[in-house]
Each structure stands twice: as C-alpha cells, then as structure tokens.
Amino acid sequence: MLRVSNLSLAYDGEPVLEGASLEVGRGQFVSLVGPSGSGKSTILRAVMGLQSPSGGRIELAVDGAEIGILFQDDALLPWRTARQNVALGWRIRGRARREALEEAERWLARLGLEGFGDRYPRELSGGQRKRVAMAQVLALEPRLLLMDEPFASLDAIVRHRITEDLLGWVEREQLTVLLVTHDLEEAQTLSDVVYLLSQGPRARIRQRYEVPIPRPRDLVRSRMHPSFGPLLERLWHDMSQEVGGPEPVRPARDSDRRKAS
C-alpha cells in the first residue's frame, strides 16, 4: 500500500532524514516510533505531500483522495459547526450541501455524537472535538489512514475510549494505518509492525519489529499476551541505545505488578 525508499529530507539545509525506508502492507497497522526530533512526523508529512523530500521515493498504491489524515491537533474550522466540519470533505469532493450534511449527521451518530451537530468546536470537549475530527476523516472512507499522535493531548480515560473505538473501526473495515507515536506500549498494542527511527539528525530506520498478537485486539488484554513484555523490553533497550545515556525507566508490566503484590 505504501513504500518509502531511501527517503532523505532537510529543513533549511539541515538534514533531518537520510535514507529512511519502510513499508506498509495492505490492511496492516504500522507504527513509527523514535526519539524526539528524529523525524517521525516529517516522514508522515512527506507521505501526505506537505513536505518535499530531497531524495528517495514514496510509492503509494492509492490516490490522494483515498488517504485520511488525523493530526495531533484536531484542526477543526472554528467558524463551522461539528456537522459542517464533518461535511467539509464531502463538500470539497462536490457532494450537494444537503446530502453532505445528512451524511455528516450519520457519521457523528456513529461516533457517539448524536445531537452535537449544531455545536461549534469551542462548545465541545477535547474528546468530542477529536471524535468530530475522526468523523471528518472516516466519513471519506479512506483506504490508508495516516495518524500523527492523534490522541496525545487527551486525558487517559478519553484517550483509551477513543483509541478503542478507532481500533475497532480499523479492524472491521480492514484499514491500512501508519501511526506516528512516542508511546511504545501504544505502538505495540495497536500495530502489526513497529519501526524504530534512529536518533536525528540524519535519522533512518534502525529496526523493524513484528508484533505477534492476534486480532481482533483488546487494548487491555493485548498487554497480557506472552510476547508483549519481551518485545517491549527490546523496544526500550533499542530506543535507550539511540537516545544515549542511562537506560530510560521502563514502565511496570503486569507481571511485575503481580510479583510485587
């Protein structure tokens, strides 16, 4: 579905990426993790066409209209209601106004926002705004979903619920996903494959990890799968080598918690 080969990219002459390569197969959920400033988001922006690479190739098996993008910021138009925001993609693609708004209302209901269509973004909570942004993207029925830490700004409970809904959606519709995240556990819980970027500048893909947890997945039970702990440890080890200095404190696993009690 997506192949990035030897991608190089620079900001104002400063090289950020040099020779980064990764592949996202049809129906796969792939995560990209790495140290801060390694260029995770830059790869995504290059795939979106918002950043021009200085070298390498990006091959997509879908056209631009079949790609959905979720940013960290919900980036909803503040002067449009939730319904109008969701309908925006359809309006841009030439749907009649009334039809697009009706379709938008159905999508809001699907994402648990029935009755919120007339509200402006400032009248919604952070979680509700994120659901509107999701509805805006999913309403266009993308085949490839690109996400840049989309739920990072939400509190833990809201984040868990929205991630769970999104995971269910992705598995049901067999969407192909490329997720950028700094959260190794999230990457592992959601993904079939995790790529680790090396420390920047001149970052490249350091390692590729297969996640052998079967689907459909549950956000809590996936963490109890026998392969979860060892793989997380490997990821933390490799990441700490990239960052340099002492090994970062790894999060307590369920097995540790059981031992402690």
């Binding site: 979106m48 918002l50 631009g64 209209a65 790609i67 993008i69 940013f71 910021d73 980036a75 909803l76 138009l77 503040p78 002067w79 449009r80 209601t81 925006l88 993609g89 841009i92 693609r93 402006y120 400032r122 009248e123 805006q136 266009l140």
Partner: protein
C-alpha cells in the same frame, strides 16, 4: 426606591449623577465660571434647542455622510488591498512601505492637503476618513491572512481543498474575524476623519460647528457637540457590536 448598588452599572450611573449635580451646583454658586464650564443644564438646553429648531440636521447629515462614505470606501479598499498584498508578493513589496509610512504618521495631518486637492466640500472629508480607515483595515486583513492558522490550511488541503476552497473556508472567515475586531476602531476613525476635516475647512458639519463654537467662545455649544458626537459614535459602536456578534456567532454563542 432602593438602588441596586451591588450592580456595576448602578454605581457608575450614581457616580455620574453626583458628578453632574456637583458641577451644576458649583457653576450656579459662582465657584466655576460658566464662561469656561457652563452648567450641565445649559449644555442640555443648547442640545435640545439645536434639535428643536432644526439647525443641527444639515450639519449631522454632512458629518454622517462623510464618515459613513469614508468608512465604506476604507473598508472596501482596505480589504481588497490587504488581500492582494497578502496573496501577491509583488504587490506586498509595493504596498507595505507606503502603508507602514501612512501608519507611522498621525494621518489627520493630511487634512490641509486634501482641502487643497479636493476643496472644502464633502470630498476632502471623505478622503481623510477613508485614509484613516483604509490603513487600519489593510493591516487587519494583511496580518489576518499572513497569520492564518497553518493547521487549518493543512487540514483543508489534506481534505482535497484547493485555492478557492481555502479562500472560502479559511481565509475569508479568518479575515472577517480580524476586520470585525477592528470595526469599532474603524467607526471611531471615520468620525475622527470627518470631524477633523470639517474643523480644518468647511461650511457644514459638526466639525464646522465646533470651529464656530471655538471662534465665538461658546463653551456650551462645544460641550453639546462633543456629547452629541460621543452619543452617535457610541450608537454606531453598539450597531457594530451587534454585527460582530451576528457574523462571529461561533465565537460568542
């Protein structure tokens, strides 16, 4: 009657009443010279008289015509130039230094020049009000477009929107917010331009009456005119506020 003195407006109204009563008493008691500070009752009497005998109407018409025409042209040209400057770099290179210069000087000093160029009629007053408003609105639009939220632009682009969609969905609403935020200031500027223009040279208008009151040492008429201008500008502020809340209901609801 018990005053609701826990309300801010009630305390403000009471303070104003006390101030006017003191002023009235001091002027009537001979402490204040009525030649310089005529009592409020005399100012009110002048106000009622100029409306009752109809002498004020042609002057009000002249000032309002100049101010509203200057405001309308200033808004129109300011918005068009702001858009052109923000979207076409070549035009920005030409316009920016001129606008920065015009913004840096107190633009009312252009009033005598407009009288030489356009005569003492309506044209010179409209021109001054126009320059005051157009420069303000140019910077509101120019800055508004250049500082538009890049995340919104990227969001619309990634949904497949081109230049026209960006203009309709992002730039125009964003600029409307900036212009509306400056509309009250623009109304004040338009009246400043009209009145100062009339004050410099004219045969009609509130500015002309102010000049007349000054030359005849008529402090009561002058205070009545100042109050009248304040009242009309406040009225326009209220109307501009209503328009702002209507057009930007996403911000106020």
């Amino acid at each position: 009657m018990i005053w609701p003195l826990d309300k801010v407006w009630a305390r403000q109204l009471l303070s104003l009443a006390v101030f006017l009563a003191c002023w009235e008493a001091l002027a009537r008691g001979g402490v204040l010279d009525p030649f310089y500070a005529p009592p409020p009752s005399e100012v009110a009497h002048v106000l009622i008289t100029v409306f009752a005998d109809g002498t004020i109407w042609p002057h009000l018409q002249a000032t309002f015509t100049a101010a509203l025409l200057g405001l309308a042209f200033g808004l129109l040209i300011g918005i068009v130039l702001g858009f052109m400057g923000a979207l076409v770099p070549f035009i920005a290179e030409l316009l920016e230094p001129v606008m920065i210069l015009l913004n840096a000087i107190p633009r009312v000093i252009l009033a005598p020049l407009f009288v030489i160029w356009l005569g003492i009629g309506l044209g010179s007053k409209v021109a001054l009000a126009f320059v005051l408003v157009a420069v303000l609105i140019f910077f509101a639009v120019y800055g508004g477009i250049r500082e538009v939220d890049r995340r919104l632009v990227e969001r619309v682009r990634t949904l497949g929107g081109g230049r026209w969609v960006l203009l309709r969905e992002v730039y125009l609403p964003s600029v409307t917010a900036w212009v509306m935020g400056n509309l009250k200031v623009a109304v004040g500027f338009a009246f400043t331009g009209a009145v100062v223009g009339e004050f410099v040279a004219s045969s009609r208008g509130l500015g002309y009456l102010l000049s007349f009151a000054q030359s005849t040492y008529n402090a009561a008429l002058m205070l009545a005119l100042v109050l009248m201008i304040m009242a009309f500008v406040l009225l326009l502020f209220v109307l501009a506020g209503h328009l702002e809340r209507r057009l930007l209901r996403w911000r106020y609801r």
